[in-house]
């Protein structure tokens, strides 16, 4: 279905490559090139061409050598110099490259090619304003001469302003260009007309920036809004006037994009009727080449201008040509039954009639002006709401379309067998009719609209009855019953027709998910009956076999999917989950013989079933009485998925489930391997990587490469720079680096794409790309990876050679033999890492829900993997807490708020709450490097003052607490909030569970103690001032609180681990990830920072003591008090770290019956035996399942071992 680009294209589209630029240059007329080139152009060409060839084939070294040789002959040649700069830049010598370019541009070059190549180097270094300056100088130098080259240089100046997003200057330059192009008419590559449009677009971008500034209250960057105050209305009117004049002058509109921008500007001003006239008139005809497109647009604009009957008529005309057009079908129903439109909003006052806004993707221009303004609704009059006559008419219209489709599908080339495995079923050289489910699904849609209207009417009647305190007729509920039954009937009839299509359940998802409990059960039963009928028919068909069996199987699968979307069956006991999974996996087994020979990359006929079976097992895990008891069900699910991917190695849903399970069970490398198997890259690092890759890699320490954990997986694509093998944090670093690069590269390249769109007259794309650039720059993922990259350096940096010897030697003594993750970095290393990190995380740009864009594709998450409130680092821990709170259920995917397309940015309250929590979590992480730096006594260089940083951390916590105080489930942990520190640190010493919130509160406690100690130590280690008694008391108290909190949390985790281990002995000792994640985070983060903090305080205090001793003074009591408290804290935290080691040792030892851990293979075998005894499906305990489980067991042990080593290193570092 899909083809790869030509290899050369990959080079071209790498965006910053030389090839792109040479390619562009080759397309320019030769006479445009002005150069100070040598007399013998042929000889010169012979020197230069091989340099281009070497650069094109990425032979940087060879290119540089050739440049060197060429420069011996042409020592002053600018072109060769910039080619050399390109070679230097590409071979990583960015500084030298910039030097060479600076030398060249100091001579004010005017050669297009030289400028273009110089710009590549400057752009790669982010020197956008220098590019602008360079082109402006060249353009100024050429201006007096005029002509084509002057025009070309001005054109490039415009491009430079596009890169810098300076809309005001763009407008000025475009105006000059349009005049100049008119004067060289016929010679300019771009017409004066197009430059005229550039002016318009530049004005519209200013209008857009002004509107956004007003909406967000954030000032626009320089050059984006007009310098003289000019409201958006005026800017829009100005743009409209210019477009009208331009169109009148040219007698046409340049094309689709010009027309659509014009329409957008009219709609933004509420002039829908004018837009309709424009499209209906000659200008519309001149711009739209496809009649169907124009008809569609006229229909939408008729609706927007309030002429619903006309819109309906046009839509029906369009639908007769293309009955499957869902956007048109939806709009048609909106127009025929305006009261039932999804966009209906009801006025708050009863006198305010409800309004609705006709919607259609044709007029939704991303980044457009209409999008920025509040929607203009059309009033819905009561008789239009959902009258019986209107419903009957709509029904008839749809039925007519259904008949039309049926007729088309019966015409000469018959439909392929629905169950056909090949995508191109159907014969002959030509096309067969596409399956057009639209009108049939629209009948379901209509039934649902009617039911919703009836339910709303009944609710309104009930309210009225209540308020009148009189006895109502009560007839409403009967109507609802009828309308609901009609929905069920419509769904069933759709199922009868399309139940064997893979998309059937997906098509019906939004409808069945809205049904009430009673209706859901009735529908599920009826589907069961239908599916049975199909099976009976298939077996009656006898030997005609394959196709009929496949069709009947598809119907069964579809029925099972719909049942799941209905939230059924409601499982109440773990055993029911096991039974259901068996039933589904058995059915899956029957599919295998029917698809022999199917390419492993294709979707199989029943590939949805393992996901449903896994979901049933995860419900069982959710129902289990303890975290430990949940593990076997998760192992069974892991086994079943592993068994399924043996046949379908690229099944995305299965891989994602495997990755999630591996993450939850402390196997981060396996989790990453499953995700990389899906070859996720580029934009997917934002939409998928941040949630599915970063979560395991941040939660767990890990070592080695992907292939270690999953032998059947290919290692992730290697980066162009190559990776240092053996780096124990390779996976996390890779994920963070690649994700960062996605955003950094786009920040670099976006301007080029926008400029290209200008060049091709694609004005809607200019607006769209501008919005896209903003969306990526504000990505939540970017905030997360920026914070986590900084934190990874602070928490997990391996000992950096230099730095305070004390800690590294003790870490070594603790047996950190692999020279990396387990060792506690030296104080100096942590300090410099935290300062560097803080410098990149400007506290003025702290992430907030309103400033971030949420691009995660949450729809890939199964029902049992709700998008948690914690950030990625604590998401594993949070999942286990949700499980314990009874919030994990595998059924009802269609009812999950995150299942909808684009749900992360949905307006629903659940989505809004998720965004708020994610932003708060990201902001917390954003502040941590500042806190660490402050705790270690660093300041300046963008580091926020520790007091301020701490206040902000608390502020974020308080916001969270306000939120969770409305949430009954967390009420228990707030019980003792009497601490003077306020809510943020309240009650940690006596808290009863470790969750993401407790860990955040521990941060507040830790940096609170750090602040108190720092207050005593004064600024810097040179402080000679006496330590105040009150400060010392406060510091001692804060340290005491820290110790109490840490010991409490560690003891909670240790108890949980011990209890889990006792249970886990029965299945080979596989532990639940909850308590493990708690220990992992405590050790890797809090204790790993506390250790260098304490070391740094001790060394300052030691210096103070030395000074006092030298000057013959005694230590004052307060200072001594503090020294004692810090020493005691070190001992206590070391003891806590040792407790972690002991708890993990005991858990892994105790998990095995004999006290010694079983080998992984034996442990996995024991787990399989346990699963068999529990009665799990054969797939869960198959050979491939068993080997996957063995790898999982093995990796959990490695993870535990790494946490233990880290904990031992912390303990050793803290003891003298």
């Amino acid at each position: 279905m899909q083809q790869m680009p030509k290899p050369i294209s990959q080079i071209i589209f790498s965006g910053i490559s030389v090839h792109l630029e040479t390619w562009v240059v080759q397309r320019l007329p030769r006479q445009r090139r002005m150069s100070r080139r040598p007399k013998d152009p042929d000889a010169f060409e012979r020197k230069v061409r091989p340099i281009y060839d070497a650069l094109d084939s990425r032979n940087w070294k060879g290119a540089l050598k050739l440049c060197q040789q060429a420069l011996q002959k042409y020592s002053d040649n600018e072109l060769i110099k910039v080619l050399k700069a390109i070679g230097l830049e590409r071979s990583g010598k960015r500084e030298e490259a910039n030097q060479v370019v600076d030398e060249v541009i100091a001579l004010n070059p005017i050669d297009e090619q030289v400028l273009r190549l110089a710009a590549i180097v400057l752009r790669a270094s982010g020197r956008l304003s220098d590019i602008t300056q360079m082109y402006e100088n060249a353009a100024t130098a050429m201006a007096p001469r005029g002509g084509e080259l002057a025009l070309v240089l001005q054109h490039e100046v415009f491009g430079a302003h596009v890169r810098e997003q300076n809309f005001v200057k763009q407008q000025q330059v475009a105006l000059r260009l349009s005049k100049a192009a008119a004067s060289v008419a016929g010679h300019a590559a771009i017409s004066s007309e197009r430059y005229g449009w550039w002016v318009v677009i530049s004005i519209l971008l200013q209008a857009r920036a002004t509107l956004r500034m007003t909406a967000t209250g954030v000032p626009a960057p320089a050059g984006q809004v007009p310098s003289v105050a000019m409201g958006p209305e005026k800017l829009l009117a100005l743009a409209e006037g210019m477009m009208a004049r331009q169109a009148a002058k040219d007698g046409r509109l340049e094309g689709y994009d010009a027309l659509m921008v014009y329409v957008d500007v009219l709609l933004a001003q509420g002039k829908a009727s004018d837009a309709l006239s424009l499209v209906s008139g000659p200008l519309g005809a001149s711009a739209l080449r496809l009649p169907a497109e124009r008809l569609q647009l006229r229909a939408v604009l008729s609706a927007l201008s309030g002429d619903l009957p006309a819109a309906s008529e046009l839509l029906r005309e369009g639908l007769r040509l293309n009955p499957d057009d869902w956007g048109a079908l939806q709009l048609l129903l909106d127009c025929m039954l305006p009261g039932t439109a999804a966009s209906v909003t009801r006025g708050s006052a009863p006198s305010c009639p409800p309004t609705f806004r006709p919607q259609h993707p044709l007029v939704l221009i991303s980044g457009g002006l209409a999008e920025q303004l509040p929607p203009r609704g059309l009033a819905v009059t009561p008789d239009e709401a959902c009258g019986t006559a209107a419903v009957i008419e709509a029904q008839a219209v749809l039925q007519e379309l259904v008949d039309l489709v049926d007729l088309k599908e019966q015409s000469p080339s018959s439909r392929g067998t629905p169950g056909d495995v090949g995508p191109g079923a159907g014969g002959g050289n030509g096309y067969k009719a596409m399956t057009m489910r639209g009108p049939d699904l629209a009948l379901v849609d209509l039934a649902m609209r009617r039911h919703r209207a009836a339910a709303a009417a009944a609710a309104a009647a009930a309210t009225a009855t209540d308020s009148n305190s009189s006895n109502g007729s009560g007839g409403g509920s009967g109507d609802i019953g009828d309308t609901e039954a009609a929905v069920i009937d419509a769904v069933l009839s759709y199922y009868r027709k399309y139940g064997s299509l893979v998309s059937c359940a997906v098509d019906l998802r939004t409808y069945v998910s809205q049904l009430g409990a009673g209706a859901a059960s009735r529908l599920a039963e009826a589907l069961e009956t239908e599916a049975d009928k199909a099976t009976a028919l298939a077996s009656a068909a006898g030997e005609s076999g394959g196709a009929a069996a496949l069709t009947s199987l598809r119907r069964r699968v579809c029925a099972a999917q719909i049942r799941d979307d209905l939230g059924l069956p409601r499982l109440e006991r773990c055993g029911e989950g096991v039974e259901l999974s068996k039933e589904l996996l058995d059915l899956y087994g029957t599919a295998q013989p029917l698809q022999a020979g199917l390419d492993e990359r294709e979707r199989g006929a029943a590939d949805e079933l393992p996901a449903l079976a896994g979901a049933a097992l995860m419900t069982a895990a959710g129902l289990a009485t303890s975290d430990a008891a949940a593990v076997p069900y998760m192992l069974a699910a892991y086994g079943a998925f592993a068994d399924a991917v043996r046949v379908r190695p690229f099944g995305a849903g299965m891989r994602i489930s495997l990755a999630a399970l591996a993450a939850l069970l402390a196997a981060p490398v396996a989790a990453a391997a499953h995700m990389y198997k899906l070859d996720i890259k580029h934009i997917q690092l934002d939409t998928l990587g941040a949630q599915m890759l970063l979560t395991p890699l941040l939660a767990w320490p890990h070592a080695g490469t992907v292939s270690m954990a999953d032998a059947e997986s290919s290692p992730p694509p290697s980066s162009p720079n190559g990776d240092a093998q053996g780096n124990s944090q390779q996976l996390l670093h890779r994920a963070l680096r690649d994700t960062n690069a996605l955003f950094a590269d786009h920040a670099c390249d976006a301007g080029e794409s926008i400029f290209t769109a200008y060049g091709h007259g694609m004005y809607t794309k200019v607006l769209e790309f501008t919005a896209f650039r903003e969306r990526l720059a504000a990505a939540h993922t970017l905030a997360v990876v920026r914070a986590e990259s900084g934190l990874a350096d602070c928490f997990r940096s391996s000992s950096s050679g230099g730095g305070g010897g004390n800690s590294s030697s003790s870490a070594n003594a603790a047996g950190a033999d692999s020279g990396g993750a387990e060792a506690i970095p030296a104080v100096d290393a942590v300090r410099s890492a935290s300062v560097a990190a803080a410098g990149k995380l400007n506290p003025d740009n702290l992430p907030t829900a309103s400033s971030l864009r949420f691009n995660w594709d949450l729809s890939i998450r199964p029902s049992w993997l709700p998008p948690g409130e914690a950030g990625p680092s604590a998401a594993v821990l949070e999942w286990w807490r949700s499980r314990a709170a009874g919030e994990i259920c595998g059924q009802g995917y269609g009812r999950c708020w995150w299942a909808a397309t684009g749900s992360a940015e949905a307006p629903s309250s659940a989505a809004a709450e998720w965004r708020t929590c994610q932003a708060s979590a990201a902001a917390h992480r954003w502040l941590l490097p500042h806190c660490i730096a402050g705790a270690l006594g660093a300041s300046g260089g963008g580091v926020l003052n520790l007091r301020e940083a701490l206040e902000r951390l608390k502020g974020l916590m308080d916001e969270q607490l306000v939120k969770s105080s409305n949430d009954a489930s967390t009420a228990g942990s707030e019980a003792d909030g009497d601490s003077r520190e306020g809510g943020a640190t309240a009650g940690l010493a006596s808290c009863t569970k470790i969750d993401a919130e407790a860990l955040r509160r521990l941060d507040v406690t830790l940096y609170g103690a750090a602040l108190a100690v720092r207050d005593c130590l004064g600024s810097g280690s040179a402080s000679a001032a006496a330590v105040g008694g009150a400060e010392a008391d406060a510091a001692c108290r804060a340290l005491g609180e820290l110790v109490a909190a840490v010991r409490r949390l560690v003891s909670l985790a240790a108890d949980e681990l011990a209890a889990a281990a006792r249970e886990a002995a029965a299945w080979g000792g596989v532990l639940p990830g909850g308590p493990l994640a708690a220990v992992s985070l405590l050790v890797q983060e809090h204790l790993s920072v506390a250790a260098p903090c304490i070391q740094s305080w001790q060394s300052v205090l030691k210096a103070v003591r030395k000074r006092r001793a030298k000057s013959g003074n005694q230590m004052e009591g307060a200072a001594q008090h503090l020294i004692d408290a810090v020493t005691k804290t070190a001992e206590q935290l070391a003891a806590a770290a040792q407790d972690c080691v002991d708890a993990l040792t005991a858990a892994t030892g105790a998990a095995a019956a004999g006290g010694e851990p079983l080998p992984a293979a034996a442990a996995a075998a024991q787990a399989v035996r346990f699963l068999k005894a529990q009665g799990h499906a054969a797939a869960s305990v198959s050979e491939s399942a068993a080997s996957a489980l063995e790898a999982l067991v093995q990796e959990q042990r490695i993870t535990v071992g790494l946490v233990m080593k880290r904990a031992a290193a912390v303990a050793a570092a803290l003891l003298p």
């Binding site: 279905m1 899909q2 083809q3 790869m4 680009p5 290899p7 050369i8 294209s9 589209f13 790498s14 080449r289 496809l290 057009d325 869902w326 993707p361 629905p418 056909d420 995508p423 191109g424 079923a425 014969g427 050289n429 096309y431 596409m434 399956t435 489910r437 639209g438 699904l441 629209a442 299509l501 998309s503 997906v506 098509d507 939004t510 990359r601 979707r603 590939d607 690229f650 899906l678 070859d679 996720i680 890259k681 580029h682 934009i683 997917q684 939409t687 786009h746 080029e752 060049g759 809607t764 794309k765 769209e768 790309f769 896209f772 691009n855 729809s859 890939i860 909808a900 397309t901 684009g902």
Partner: protein, 174 residues
């Protein structure tokens, strides 16, 4: 029920149900943006009833003289929406745009020699194997260059198969 509309940047955030299919390549951002900036009429998204991506096509028009043609760069359908002739519908539209908007002589596409399912499908749509491009896919696999003549190529000269396999560097366009 399909809404056919132009592909937009925002689709990149929600197209995973299509692109998680291993046969569908996820390109870098400049790749998509270049197509959208130059040939937006050739980049179409088929959207399902829940606004989910059903499938999409990316293409372009290029070539000189009687080699002026439409090119299919990518056509793909999400596993959930296969067996409904959606790919065919998308191809049909691309051909219509090549014919009516750009007045091309033919439409061409490249396909992995090993992808028998796709090759058969294109054959059914009227495409013939015009020539083989050796080592087209990063040097490790050959491609078939498949073509279908449009009405402007009255004698169907564009689709007379070339016997000799060619190398990627011999291709007329990039």
């Amino acid at each position: 029920m399909t809404t056919l509309r132009r592909f937009t940047c925002n689709d990149l955030f929600t197209y995973n149900n299509v692109n998680l299919d291993i046969l569908t390549e996820t390109y870098n951002l400049p790749f998509y943006l270049t197509y959208l900036a130059k040939w937006p009429e050739y980049c179409l998204m088929a959207e399902g009833p829940g606004k989910q991506a059903m499938g999409y096509i990316l293409g372009k028009a290029e070539g000189d003289g009687d080699l002026w043609h439409g090119h299919v760069t990518a056509v793909t359908v999400a596993p959930d929406f296969r067996r409904q002739s959606l790919a065919q519908k998308l191809m049909q539209i691309l051909e219509e745009i090549s014919e009516k908007v750009h007045d091309c002589f033919f439409v061409d596409l490249f396909v992995r020699k090993s992808n028998a399912v796709a090759i058969n499908m294109y054959r059914k749509f009227g495409y013939i194997i015009y020539r083989t491009v050796v080592g087209y896919y990063s040097g490790d696999e050959d491609a078939y260059d498949m073509r279908k003549a449009l009405p402007r190529d009255v004698d169907k000269r564009s689709t007379i198969p070339l016997k000799r396999p060619i190398k990627p560097e011999e291709l007329e366009w990039e």
